[in-house]
Symmetry: C2
Subunit: 231 residues, 2 copies
């Protein structure tokens, strides 16, 4: 298909598609003449992935570029490709080894991963990301011992084992496998986060004994406020 | 304490504290003279919360302002205050009722919440947020039937019931309760997301049979690339 049809099918404006081509997020089409290139289903699938990571995952373009580079680099092996895509999804965190509570948090993270028997690279940036959460929670007076965190780790592993990992076609084409990994991490991750907030609303309502789903009362106004910006 | 001590204790620079005061994120101190105000432990706690939501939660200032406004507004009742804070954490999503797959996704969300028996306000913006995830996953060819989503919902409810909600002091002071709710949603939510990515790395490694935690080989270089930006 031509770029105009690619735009129509994907809903992405032509100038945006050209921007993705320039940035290397989208592979070039087959040049059929000096002014014309052909695009295929793989371009459409890639465009949908980019939009999903931008709009739902709210990933910065730089992170998406790293993911895409890993998918497209034929030289690196499959496992490294997954690792690169995986780490590109980490929010960069600056470690603070000069602070005692940072060091304690990081030690806790490393000890917990070892005790769980998880295979995580010693240089994985995710370790610092978790240490940052731990140190922040601790400063806010919240429980952060290994015993407090283990139930979360165990729930996370169940989710990955039972749901995420079963969706990844490890024996299929490598670009599809890594795309699926990213979709699982970012998009099912987002869906889970929203479900958790829905569950939290429901449980708060249950505990506080307020009528579920009231209509025509003041709570509606207040809650719409949460959405529109008017308090 | 004076503003200089508040800055030293919290690690937040004085100009930033003054910005939070102007923006209404931080309540004014007790004015003890024309040029001097006294700040207390509640200011320190609030500052830590603001920094945590900004730095770890990556919430925009506007969302934090809504949460804080809900905590500080004595007129609204406790449940509404929780609701307002809660919805302020939603990412605003534009619904697309003119698109058929959007309508289907939104219907699926409403039906699933009803089938689960969850008490969620009909106008909760979280419903649209979940519909957006569903429609995006579907367009990427991922499984999104109610049967596919229910295990995620069930895992989310377990996490909220067993872990998050037990931490919220519903019978304590209302500002502490709502602050804890926000901490649970944003910070334990973030910690869980990181744990899930750690579990995903570990499970991929287990399935692909690569040596766990290699050192001195090329994967280290590739993976550090994920962190530093060099591929």
């Amino acid at each position: 298909m031509r770029i105009s049809q690619l735009s129509a099918e994907s809903g992405v404006p032509i100038p945006t598609i050209k921007y993705y081509l320039r940035e290397g997020l989208l592979p070039q089409g087959d040049q059929t003449s000096a002014t014309r290139a052909e695009y295929g289903q793989e371009h459409l699938r890639r465009l949908r992935l980019i939009r999903a990571l931008l709009e739902v995952g709210r990933l910065p373009v730089a992170a998406i570029r790293k993911v895409i580079a890993a998918v497209d680099d034929e030289r690196i092996d499959f496992h490294d490709m997954l690792g690169t895509a995986h780490y590109a999804l980490s929010t960069p965190v600056e470690p603070h080894p000069e602070e005692e509570d940072w060091r304690e948090a990081r030690e806790l993270v490393d000890r917990m991963i070892a005790d769980l028997g998880w295979s995580v690279h010693p240089l994985a940036p995710t370790r610092d990301e978790l240490a940052q959460s731990v140190v922040t929670l601790k400063r806010l007076g919240m429980p952060t011992s290994q015993e407090d965190l283990l139930p979360y780790a165990s729930a996370a592993l169940d989710l990955v084992r039972d749901l995420d990992i079963t969706k990844i076609p490890f024996d299929g084409p490598r670009d599809v496998a890594v795309e699926t990994l990213v979709i699982c991490e970012v998009l099912y991750g987002k869906a889970f986060d929203v479900l958790r907030r829905l569950a939290q609303e429901s449980e708060s309502t249950r505990i506080l004994g307020a009528p579920p789903c009231p209509s025509g009362d003041t709570t509606q106004v207040t809650r719409q406020g949460g959405r529109s910006g008017a308090p």
